[in-house]
């Protein structure tokens, strides 16, 4: 560990910093909201505040990862996968004949994927859903002999699993990476990764609210200017955390950049997915979707990208 700290000290330092940041930002956001003059401004502040509030769930994840170690973290991410898949399937027009495939997806695939990570089966964990489940699901669905929109239904369930289980589970796998360079650890790497993911989203929304401009088609809360400025800010935050990681300073910049870009792409792709699954619900009052996918969207693409890059270059 650089800066003369032990891994645990560094972790707790960052955690304490984040708690202070969240408390201050939450309080300041509330104060701003109370003093905002017009409705449009209030709305912009409320959107930023909702992102600030998300930092508390980040703190919870960090605390769990620290106190309970990887098993606790995996339970948290398995639960997130469950909520995301639940949301994905709720939006997808499945049929009664898909029932068994869906039962398997929820009650077998999710636990198996996370158990594989928990028991260090890294070869199988990265193949399980893209290969084994990919072969098993269409068989299960073909056995029901319902060929109406068959390929479409199989593809949607597979996509749901890739997005909400395969991709999300990589975040849990980061913690198990053994990266001894510069006395870093998987735990610190996870901290680095999640902080960059979180701040890229927060800063993009904040910069969009401050700088204005035309909203993106994929996300009405972000503007092009805001995304550039916020993304740059997140890269700077990532770079300033270089001492946590097994990366050199310039490598930390590139890795943060990869996370920010992948996170943005994830948001873009998921917004297209949601629109194609039924934009009606997303434009009007959202009741069916309590936003599990929305909250995870930047993590979903960034996690496998960051994991693979780290494995490829630093392991």
């Amino acid at each position: 560990m650089r800066l003369g700290l032990s891994a645990n000290e560094a972790y707790l330092l960052i955690l304490a910093g984040l708690v202070l940041f969240s408390a201050a930002a939450t309080a300041y956001g509330q104060w701003l909201l109370g003093h905002a003059s017009d409705g449009a401004k209030q709305q912009r502040i409320a959107i930023v505040n909702s992102r600030v509030r998300a930092s508390w769930s980040l703190i919870l994840i960090f605390a769990v990862a620290f106190a309970l170690g990887q098993p606790g973290l995996l339970v948290v991410f398995a639960f997130s996968s469950f909520l995301a898949l639940r949301e994905f399937i709720a939006l997808t027009p499945t049929k009664a004949s898909d029932h068994w495939a869906l039962v398997i997806a929820f009650y077998a695939v999710i636990p198996i994927q996370y158990l594989l990570i928990g028991f260090d089966q890294y070869q199988i964990f990265s193949l399980f859903i893209p290969v084994y489940v990919f072969l098993l699901l269409p068989v299960l669905m073909a056995l029901r002999q319902d060929t109406e929109r068959y390929l479409e239904r199989v593809a949607k369930v597979q996509w749901g699993l890739m997005i909400s289980v395969f991709c999300v589970s990589h975040a849990g796998a980061i913690m198990a990476l053994e990266v001894p360079r510069f006395q870093s650890s998987g735990q610190l790497l996870l901290l680095f990764f999640l902080l960059v993911v979180y701040f890229s989203d927060l800063l993009e929304v904040m910069a969009s609210a401050l700088l204005g401009g035309t909203p993106l088609r994929s996300n009405a809360n972000k503007t092009r200017k805001g995304v550039f400025a916020g993304g740059l800010g997140a890269v700077l935050i990532g770079a300033s955390l270089w001492w946590l990681t097994p990366f050199r300073f310039w490598q930390a910049i590139l890795m943060s950049g990869a996370i920010v870009v992948a996170g943005f792409m994830g948001g873009l792709v998921l917004s297209s997915v949601k629109r194609s699954l039924g934009a009606r619900r997303w434009d009007t009052e959202i009741v069916l979707t309590r936003g599990a996918l929305d909250r995870l969207d930047s993590l979903i693409f960034a996690a496998p990208v960051f994991y693979q890059l780290t494995v490829f270059f630093f392991l």
Binding site: A90, T94, H99, V103, F106, V287, L288
Partner: protein, 205 residues
């Protein structure tokens, strides 16, 4: 007999985890008024889901009406039905013709409980309800002060289609509509089709 101070029971937690059961109060607000909630019926989970969508204070005073031949079988089902949901069991078989199956419902209404009923009488394969049985009409006539609230359970038919054992997790919403008033001298058929139309209208809300 039941404990209104009970925290969220495991069954409510489990229901929310599995299928969401998010309430949407469209045509009325949650209130302690005595009510009959009537809904479309597509799965075994309907009873629990509608009940779990109510605020806790109302749950304590609301009893689902459930078929005796299904819920009175097996220790687990009976425990859920009697201890948790405090159901009113209704005898669908009618072995004794002089015995009116609506009597237990009348008793519950007279003692001030709200009821949850599924007026189709059985589960249907589609989301939209089939024709209603007449029980709702009779109860509405005999208890004019009780509000008749239409409810639409969205998405639940996908979670547990008829004949399947395990529910697939999904997110369903429970939509509460505007109470249906019975008009003076309204015919049974007229009222029942109007009540059914009120549930169907909620499916498009």
């Amino acid at each position: 007999m039941f404990d209104s101070f009970k925290l969220l029971t495991p069954i409510v937690w489990l229901t929310r985890l599995l299928v969401g059961a998010y309430p949407q109060w469209i045509g009325c607000a949650p209130a302690a008024t005595q009510r009959i909630y009537f809904a479309n019926h597509t799965s075994h989970m309907d009873t629990v889901v509608l009940w779990a969508a109510l605020p806790r204070a109302l749950r304590a005073n609301t009893r689902p009406v459930a078929a005796k031949d299904y819920w009175d079988k097996g220790a687990l089902k009976r425990r859920i039905a009697i201890d948790e949901l405090n159901v009113v069991l209704i005898d669908r078989n009618r072995d004794d013709p002089s015995h009116d199956p609506l009597d237990p419902l009348r008793d519950a209404l007279s003692s001030g409980f709200s009821l949850i009923i599924f007026p189709e009488g059985t589960r249907s394969a589609q989301a939209l309800p089939g024709p209603f049985k007449s029980g709702l009409y009779h109860l509405g006539r005999e208890f004019p002060s009780v509000e008749l609230v239409p409810v639409y359970l969205e998405n639940l038919h996908r979670s547990m289609p008829k004949g399947e054992l395990l529910p697939v997790p999904t997110m369903c919403s429970v939509r509460f509509g505007k109470p249906v008033q019975m008009a003076e001298g309204e015919s049974k058929e007229g009222f029942l089709s109007r009540a059914r139309a009120a549930v169907i209208a909620l499916s498009r809300a």
